[in-house]
Symmetry: C2
Subunit: 223 residues, 2 copies
DNA sequence: ACCTGAACACCGTTCAAGT
DNA sequence: ACCTGAACACCGTTCAAGT
């Protein structure tokens, strides 16, 4: 419970800040744990405080209300994922359409899967409040990134890249969510990991015109 | 508010049963309305009862607890969708892979979209309790139906039909959910309606071997 | 600067009493 | 057979008091 105070060297405010940082972290951790074991419905401010080893009043010093606490969790998770996707987009710029597709799918799967525990906890609260609103903002940002990325493909030009980026995100996000919400069973995760890249690649292929004219160009458009 | 009592001709118990039916329906409606305007978080047994024009006690005569009320809503909605999908499957048996794919996607979109209001209300509670469990059962049923359907395709044989059916459902379910949860905006629904069938068709094509050997068989497998 | 916990309004659920 | 609503335990949130 007592932890070293890593910020202790800093001036005046430091010791107290280190304590409060620990407090916030404890609250964060306690919330995730309770969310996983008991679900949103049974998540109680009293219980969070108890588990975190602080009093309710303390919790309300950092979060104006329970929603804010949940909101903070979702934000942290979404930010991590958005960052991962933007990194992936940077790495994939100018590659072939297949490479881009596989790269995006892998990055998404990795990001969501890296913190299955957190992801699952968060799906339970994602439908609440203004959280939907915030989710929208973040995802617009990701759509932008993917749209831009698509236009850089070296071997094809994607028609209506914005719609395609939107659809890609909906398909990836939705299918992963479905599997994680069902309990993230290994067998189902395996299927997802094997099939999702295929889904993306095929969809991208049909949405693009190859750059070099080829006699079998049809192959890349509709079946 | 007063409604004709359609079962009034029936013997003894009828009038009272008609009354209770009306009560249950009023509660159901009130719940959906409140869910849509205020969200799950603000859904209160008191408020539901008030809106439905009955007392709290009455509500507890039909639903042992609040969860049960929500559970009933989800069940009704899921049952309607499962039925729609099974109908579609029956109609599509023995058709071409393309026809099957388009048919499934259309049926799914129609079923979810027919009751956008209900669908949205329900996403908000889908993560709760044993509801996840029930969802699983229903979806196994739908996976079965689609798997069977896939094996009847007239012009191709689908490899690993169960995995493909699972993935199809995850992709359709997830992407539609994403769009509805974001507020079911017309522009986004339009994109979904245009692109989802493509996603499905391409994925199915790559997962199947054509039945008649053709020189350009490659076209139907990986790009 | 940060923490505590009793106090208050409100919610889920029950049950004795009504028709 | 169905309905009512006061009553109880518990939750979210506040705030005066502590260190």
């Amino acid at each position: 419970m007592t932890r070293p105070t890593p910020l202790a060297l800093k001036p005046r405010k430091s010791p107290s800040q280190a304590r409060s940082t620990a407090t916030v972290e404890a609250i964060h951790t306690a919330t995730i744990q309770l969310l996983l074991t008991d679900g949103v419905a049974r998540l109680t401010t009293t219980r969070v405080a108890e588990r975190a080893g602080v009093s309710v009043g303390t919790m309300y010093q950092y979060y104006p209300h329970k929603e804010a606490l949940l909101f903070a969790l979702v934000t942290a998770q979404l930010e991590a994922i958005a960052a991962a996707m933007e990194n992936a987009a940077a790495d994939l710029t100018g590659r072939s359409l297949c490479a881009i597709s596989d790269g995006i799918a892998a990055a998404w799967l990795d990001a969501k899967t890296a913190d299955i525990v957190g992801s699952r906890a968060i799906y339970g609260i994602a439908a609440e409040f203004d959280i939907v609103e915030m989710t929208r903002e973040r995802s617009v940002q990701m759509i932008d990134a993917i749209e831009t990325l698509l236009t850089t493909a070296s071997d094809a030009v994607v028609a209506r890249p914005r719609e395609v980026a939107f659809m890609l995100l909906a398909v990836m996000g939705g299918s992963v969510r479905t599997v994680l919400e069902r309990g993230a069973r290994d067998e189902e995760l395996e299927v997802l990991r094997a099939e999702l890249p295929l889904v993306c690649r095929q969809y991208l292929a049909v949405s693009a015109h190859p750059l070099a004219a080829r006699s079998d160009a049809e192959e890349l458009t509709r079946v």
